[in-house]
């Protein structure tokens, strides 16, 4: 080996080591950061790989349950989810050794489950290496690291097995959505006219709900009859809201857009602008809130766990509703009946309108988070800065959910009743999650 080929890796190691050392200090100060880093890593890979909101909503809870199931074995006073979540049992118990580090094992369990879900697997290979380096820097022995990794993977393997029976694989083989010629039914929307995504998501096994239709909403107006006066009124409302936007309203719409891939066209030039999905946005908020409040490891893991489960079950309820009603989007109705050249502020997501997904998700997440962190927690959401958006402040969590909901009307992609019903549904799902799951 020549000096050159030896020197540069050495130099690189030294430099990397220095960086790692710096980071490691933060870990020592707040070990909850590990769980936040895990969730943020998952979010970052989701953004690059591009996943739809339902598919993304499924990634967080399984990974967080995996981490939780390790952590509860190292932290007294917390309950396993085994027997509490549908189909989950037989969690491997930690071996009778005292050199296993719970946090490293939990992070490995999280990453192993997360890696299975995303496309860019190499990202989590790298990430898991970094976790082990951090552990080494913090003083864990080689043997201890190896044992922790092994246990983390063992738990992950059980979680993956449980996850494998949630009907996801079966939905992959089902027929895609066929557009109907029925003028009252949902049709693909500009600008990309994508196929409706996940028409069978309502058949997914939820974690806590008795059925996808448990909180099914009575349709407030006759959504089936696009010829009705009420439908027209509803469309007018969205059109006017979108046509008379204040700067604040526009900011709201864009802030809560959470469209994972907005396609920007200029003739032949196509640019896909990527950001988080709505579930990812809420996971980022959980990260920010737990950090701002200085929560310790277990409360942090608990917040991620409950929020991600609430969001996942919320999406199943919501998607069941969407493909039950197959409601037309505002842009289609308004273009065909009111104004041919009308364009909403936001790009309309490719699935039916009723019920508003963001409303359900946001309400479900804030319901459980309010329970954990307090209903009057004021906060500023700065998680969107990295995607080129601003910071928005809220007096409490539920007001953030309401804003996320109504922002869809300002964005021109929903009718108002889908927001109201969506918030209702989300609250119900959140409450139900809290009654079904005991973390302590």
């Amino acid at each position: 080996m020549s000096f050159r080929s030896l020197f540069f890796p050495l130099l690189a190691c030294l430099l990397l080591g220095a960086v790692a050392c710096k980071k490691e200090k933060a870990v020592v100060l707040d070990d909850a950061q590990w769980i936040r880093d895990c969730n943020k890593k998952l979010t970052d890979v989701i953004v690059v790989d591009i996943f739809t909101p339902p598919v993304a909503s499924r990634m967080y809870p399984y990974a967080n349950v995996a981490a939780w199931e390790v952590l509860v074995q190292f932290n007294k006073g917390y309950k396993s989810m085994s027997g509490q979540l549908r189909g989950l049992d037989s969690i491997p118990q930690k071996p009778d050794k005292n050199n296993i580090d719970g946090l490293l094992a939990a992070s490995i369990a999280f990453s192993t489950v997360g890696q299975k879900a995303i496309y860019s697997e190499f990202e989590f290979d790298d990430f898991m290496k970094q976790l082990q380096d951090r552990a080494a820097k913090a003083g864990l022995s080689e043997e201890s690291i190896a044992e922790s990794v092994e246990f983390g993977k063992k738990v992950a393997s059980r979680i993956l097995c449980w996850q494998g029976k949630d009907q996801f694989k079966e939905t992959r083989a089902m027929a895609r959505y066929t557009v109907s010629n029925d003028a009252a039914k949902w049709r693909p929307t500009p600008t990309e006219y994508m196929e409706a995504i996940e028409p069978n998501w309502g058949t997914m096994r939820s974690m806590t709900l008795d059925s996808a239709s448990q909180f099914s909403k009575r349709i407030p107006v006759d959504y089936d009859d696009t010829n009705s006066k009420m439908f027209e009124e509803m469309a007018k409302h969205t059109k006017e809201a979108n046509d008379t936007l204040t700067a604040e309203h526009t900011e709201m719409a864009l802030f809560w857009d959470d469209n994972p891939a907005v396609v920007q066209n200029v003739g032949h030039l196509k640019m896909v602008n990527k950001k988080t999905t709505p579930p990812g946005h809420w996971m980022n908020i959980v990260g920010q809130l737990t950090r701002d409040k200085g929560l310790k490891l277990m409360p942090t893991a608990e917040a991620y766990l409950l929020a991600s489960i609430a969001v996942f079950d919320g999406v199943i309820s919501c998607w069941y509703e969407k493909y039950k009603t197959e409601t037309i989007r505002p842009v289609t109705y308004i273009n065909e009946r009111m104004d041919k050249s009308w364009r909403p502020v936001l790009q309309t997501p490719p699935f039916p309108e009723f019920i508003s997904g963001h409303s359900v998700i946001s309400a479900a997440a804030t319901t459980v988070l309010s329970n954990l962190l307090g209903g009057s927690l004021a906060f500023s959401d700065s998680t969107q800065v990295e995607y080129g958006l601003g910071i928005r402040s809220f007096p409490n969590l539920s007001s953030a959910a309401r804003e996320a909901g109504i922002s869809r009307v300002y964005g021109g992609i929903h009718f108002k009743p889908a927001i109201d019903s969506g918030l209702d549904m989300g609250n119900s799902v959140g409450d139900y999650v809290l009654t079904k799951i005991k973390t302590k």
């Binding site: 496309y119 994508m194 003739g267 030039l269 196509k270 896909v272 273009n335 050249s341």
Partner: protein, 1091 residues
């Protein structure tokens, strides 16, 4: 010393070799020599410097390049060159002879402009005998800075911009202008094509384009006859808004009035502006053309196939090679395509279109058949007979400064660059890769066959090329090419045909018309020689942004005598000229020839009598999309109907017709009256069975009671395999033409053909029923059945007669025919991904013919069969209808198309993957998004488009899986005549090119013209094919006249217009012995033709 010497001699020798080789390679070998600035003196390059203001995001048309104008501005007999520049000075070069040029831009006063220059048109606008120059302007500039310029020739090599005085200083975002006499008042009017400035929704399906029309519509300027023009766009109905690149004049409907074809970029359909003869135009493309290019770029009009009618060639931007096809974005998803159709956009596909003029005002698109459908991001097509062999070749300029449709950049890299903190979009965009391309030079080999000769003929420098024109720049009697390039200097391709193709003659023609159209713009010139008829027209604009001399040039080949030349002057007068001089420029003066009367077209043989037939049945397909279950399936199997059967059901001696319905549509029975009219007879049994999809049917007397009973095969793919909805049905006739359901043994195959025959020779009719597909499991074979008639009951005897039929393939058609003269009917089968198969009848079984019978490697997508003794030698021959050759799916024996059937991701669904050869290597045909939608597990493997863009099946899947997959091949897609050589050995004859325009779905053999020789009628198109290949719609039906010796000729202008999604043809005898051809169309009405 010796050593040095030997080294030196090696060097010298090599040098000599290089020189010698060069000499051989370029001076003698190739038809063209690239001439660059150092040779020609033309050092102009259309240089594009990008910055934060001037970039593709701010102005999408930045890379569209400049045009070329060629014309003799000083009347010295040498064509001079005008070049437009996007950002820099335009250039005028004076031809000094010998392919040397002098830049006289400054002294001529034609260089400067503020906005971007685009198209150029050389025209003597004031008819003073000196060429003037019209230059179009566009770009993000104030209207005042973007007015088009009209340089009036001052007759001393200087020009003055007098656009304003002429009223032609239009401030639109202009691309190009052409001149012709639309109102037949004798003078030349101007048609101007423009584009909107907002590109945001240019490629998006929207219900309404912006209503703001200013500066962005097509425009028409009427010549007032006094060197002024009036904008009459709105009154003439041409003020239509689109991203229009190119307007070409053509009389498509042969009414003597010039129409205009406009190619429009992006999603917007092309315009075919039909001249209403009253000063107005009406856009009517959908009445003339079945589909067009998705992003139409330049177009060219000429007679491509020497039939005397002008054809249209329109360019698009799809690459020929696999890598660029897979890397660059193309059409929207299937739902986006459907949305476009629903909102009234015309059928458009990503391919260059060759719209072949059928001579009666209709067109067939045959670009794929001609082999000129994929030339990458293309701009200018220019036809010329470069090798003087009598067929017009075509050169296509292509290239785009940046691969802005690179999918990895769109989806992954641009975003990550932004995320990394780079906010200067101009800079970010400069990271998009650049790929200069080789221009395409196609040799026309006749019979609609073009062959890429770029490299062989010396086109070797990759460029970003735009405006292109041909002209004999060096006066040596052949056509040279001049091309305007982005960022590299102009190239002149010097044609060496005058030296290398000396034996081939040519003739060049210009006109001397009457003022104010002395050059005869718009005249159609038709030359008749010993061996061909060929037409071309006099025009000042050609293809994209460019303008040439108002002459026509016909190559003549060797020893070809010119009979006469006919000129159809603008306004319609026909004048014939004789005694023209070969290998010279001939000037034909108005009034110096022989005026001849207009030819009255002969009455076609076939007449459409659908409207008076009484058959009002319209086949209605149900809503079902096979691609939603299998995104990579190559076609729909759910639209196989209508079933059709004919026979005399009520014993009145007249033929009646059964027509099957799609799912949820009841079949109908039409009974013929003695006046030849058809009327429906109510059939409750059919109404009861409406929920079945009827795909095949036959009348035959199953119970030997003397009347015709009916067997109907159920098919489609709407239900899972094995569903009871695939149960075939049998109906017994009560003797009066009323049918009653009767039980059949259970079978649940998705069926296709129903073919009766007395297989066991017991005097009653048995039956073969073909299996089409295993629903949801394509390409798995379906089960076919032999029904033996046992005392009026059909019994499934497939196991005893021919167990091989249970998985014989994706069957489409079958024929019982005694091929070996043993008086027993043998079975011949056709299907997709299989050869024509013969089963010989032993009397108790059917034995597959395994001897060398000439059908080896005949695997194709066969749809139809017919058999008769076509050559009168006493044995039975076969006519077999294949997919045809007009498709992006191509196959040869050594380069087969194939399909792999396997559940790659093991999720319980069959994942079919089709592969075809791309430049010698077999790759999947599907793009990455489709493939990963079908095989989702691949999303982890094919992380980027680049990962997939070079991949073969072997790169994507492990050997264990590939070994387990069902692999089916196709070696030929040509519709073929199989001549029986008498010993059961067949000889293949590819049928005429018209038979290859589309899949042949049904064949009838009959003597059409009563010359005692058997003729063939073929119908078929294919709307079932997946949308990226694009529906097959070029066939209007073929009438092949036989010579009784196995020779066939396609009848032109036959009057047969089976131009829908034709599936079945039946010949019926009408009341009084009239011959009728009945054509069953999927999802459309039934056509009837009298002949």
């Amino acid at each position: 010393m010796i050593a040095i010497n030997s080294k030196l001699s090696v060097v010298l020798l090599s040098l000599f070799c290089i020189l010698a080789c060069n000499k051989k390679g370029s001076e003698e070998g190739t038809l063209f020599i690239e001439r660059h600035a150092k040779d020609t003196g033309i050092d102009f390059a259309n240089s594009i410097q990008e910055d934060s203001r001037i970039n593709i995001y701010n102005y999408e048309y930045l890379y569209n390049g400049g045009g070329v104008g060629v014309g003799d501005i000083n009347n010295d007999g040498l064509p001079d060159i005008f070049l437009t520049s996007t950002l820099g000075s335009n250039k005028l070069y004076l031809n000094k002879g010998g392919l040397k040029f002098e830049d006289i831009t400054k002294s001529a006063g034609v260089g400067l402009h503020i906005s971007f220059s685009t198209g150029v048109t050389m025209i003597d606008i004031n008819q003073d005998g000196y060429l003037d120059i019209y230059v179009c302007q566009t770009g993000i500039y104030q209207p005042e800075d973007r007015r088009n310029m009209l340089y009036i020739n001052q007759k001393d090599n200087t020009f003055k911009n007098e656009a304003q005085a002429y009223g032609l200083d239009d401030a639109s975002f202009s691309n190009h202008a052409t001149f012709f006499d639309y109102d037949h008042d004798g003078d030349l009017d101007m048609y101007l094509v423009n584009h909107p400035l907002d590109f945001k929704y240019a490629n998006t399906v929207i219900l309404a384009v912006d209503t703001v029309k200013q500066y962005s519509t097509n425009m028409l300027y009427r010549n007032n006859g006094n060197n002024t023009f009036t904008n009459v766009s709105a009154a003439a109905g041409v003020d239509k808004k689109a991203y229009s690149f190119c307007a070409s004049v053509i009389d498509v409907n042969n009414d003597g009035w010039e129409d205009v074809f406009v190619s429009n970029d992006y999603l917007m359909g092309d315009f075919l502006m039909i001249n209403q003869k009253d000063g107005t135009f009406k856009e009517s493309i959908q009445s003339y053309m079945k589909h067009s290019s998705w992003h139409s770029m330049g177009n060219a009009i000429t007679d491509v196939n020497n039939d005397g009618d002008l054809d249209i060639y329109i360019l698009d931007m799809v690459a020929e090679d696999n890598y660029r096809q897979k890397m660059l974005g193309g059409m929207p998803g299937y739902d986006g395509y459907l949305a476009a159709l629903k909102y009234g956009y015309q059928n458009q596909y990503l391919e260059n279109c060759l719209q072949l003029n059928r001579g009666d005002g209709t067109f067939s698109e045959v670009g794929q058949l001609a082999g000129i459908a994929q030339t990458d991001w293309s701009w200018a097509p220019v036809f010329a007979d470069f090798d003087k062999d009598g067929n017009k070749d075509v050169i296509v300029s292509n290239g785009y400064m940046r691969d802005v449709t690179n999918m990895d950049y769109a989806r992954y890299y641009l975003d990550s660059i932004k995320a990394s903190g780079n906010k200067d979009l101009g800079k970010i965009l400069q990271s998009i890769p650049q790929t200069p391309l080789l221009n395409y030079m196609y040799q026309n080999q006749g019979n609609l066959k073009f062959v890429n000769k770029s490299k062989e003929w010396g086109i070797t420098t990759p460029t970003f090329s735009n405006g292109t024109i041909v002209a004999d720049l060096d006066g040596d009697g052949d056509e040279d090419v001049i091309m305007n390039n982005v960022n590299t200097p102009v190239i002149i391709y010097e044609n060496q045909a005058s030296k290398l193709r000396k034996d081939n003659d040519y003739i060049s023609i210009q006109l001397e018309g009457t003022s104010p159209n002395k050059q005869g713009l718009g005249a159609l010139i038709t030359i008749t020689t010993d061996s061909f008829v060929q037409a071309d027209q006099i025009t000042c604009t050609h293809s994209y942004y460019s303008s040439g001399e108002p002459k026509v040039y016909f190559g003549l080949g060797k020893n070809n005598k010119i009979k006469d030349v006919t000129v159809r002057w603008p306004g319609g007068k026909l004048e014939q000229f004789e005694d023209l001089r070969k290998n010279k420029l001939n000037t034909l003066e108005f009034g110096k020839g022989k005026m001849i009367p207009k030819e009255v077209p002969a009455k076609p043989m076939f007449e459409d009598v659908s409207k008076v037939s009484g058959i009002a049945f319209v086949h209605h397909e149900n809503e079902f999309i096979d691609f939603k279950e299998n995104p990579t399936i190559s076609q729909k199997f759910s639209i196989e109907g209508p079933a059709m059967a004919t026979g005399d059901v009520n014993g009145d001696g007249l033929t009646d017709v059964y027509l099957g319905g799609a799912k949820d549509q009841a079949a109908v029975l039409y009974v013929q009256s003695n006046t030849g009219q058809f009327s429906i007879v109510s059939q409750p049994a059919f109404a009861n069975d409406a929920s079945f999809e009827d795909v095949g049917a036959a009348f035959f007397d199953v119970d030997k009671d003397g009347d015709l009973d009916l067997y109907v095969a159920s098919g489609g793919a709407e239900w899972e395999a094995g569903n009871a909805k695939y149960q075939d049905r049998q109906y017994l006739n009560n003797g009066k033409g009323i049918f009653q359901s009767t039980n059949l043994p259970i079978e649940t195959n998705s069926g296709s053909c129903v073919v009766p025959g007395d297989i066991d020779g017991d005097g009653d009719m048995d039956l073969f029923v073909g299996g089409r597909v295993l629903p949801g499991k394509y390409p798995m074979p379906a089960t076919s059945i032999i029904w033996i008639n046992e005392n009026g009951k059909l019994v499934n005897k497939t196991d005893t007669w021919c167990p091989a039929l249970k998985d014989i393939g994706l069957l489409t058609s079958a024929v019982w025919q005694d091929l070996n003269n043993d008086k027993k009917p043998d079975l011949i089968l056709s299907g997709q991904w299989m050869p024509i198969k013969i089963f010989y009848n032993t009397g108790t079984s059917l034995q597959i013919d395994t001897k060398a019978n000439g059908l080896e490697k005949s695997d194709g997508w066969w749809y139809s069969l017919a058999s008769a003794d076509m050559d009168g030698d006493g044995d039975m021959d076969l006519i077999a209808g294949n997919m045809g050759l007009n498709s992006r799916i191509k196959a040869k024996v050594d380069e087969p198309a194939c399909v792999y059937g396997y559940d790659w991701d093991e999720n319980g669904t069959m994942d079919p993957i089709m592969c075809i050869f791309y430049q010698g290597v077999s790759h999947p045909i599907h793009n990455r998004d489709q493939l990963t939608d079908q095989v989702r597990s691949l999303r982890k493997k094919l992380l980027r488009y680049q990962t997939y863009a070079n991949a073969t099946m072997q790169d994507i899947f492990p050997k264990e899986q590939l070994d387990k997959a069902l692999v089916l091949n196709a070696f030929t897609f040509a519709t073929t005549y199989f001549e029986n050589k008498g010993n059961g050995v067949f000889f293949k004859h590819e049928l005429p090119v018209e038979c290859q325009f589309a899949p042949v779905k049904s064949i009838q053999i009959t003597d059409v013209n009563q010359d005692k020789h058997l003729d063939v009628i073929m119908v078929g198109n294919g709307y079932e094919i997946e949308y990226e290949t694009g529906r097959y719609d070029a066939s209007q039906g073929v009438v092949l006249l036989g010579d009784g010796k196995g020779g066939f000729k396609s009848l032109r202008k036959s009057g047969l217009k089976a131009d829908l999604d034709a599936r079945h043809a039946e010949i019926i005898t009408g009341a009084g012995g009239n011959k009728r051809l009945l054509v069953g169309n999927n999802n459309a009405g039934i056509q009837m033709f009298a002949y």
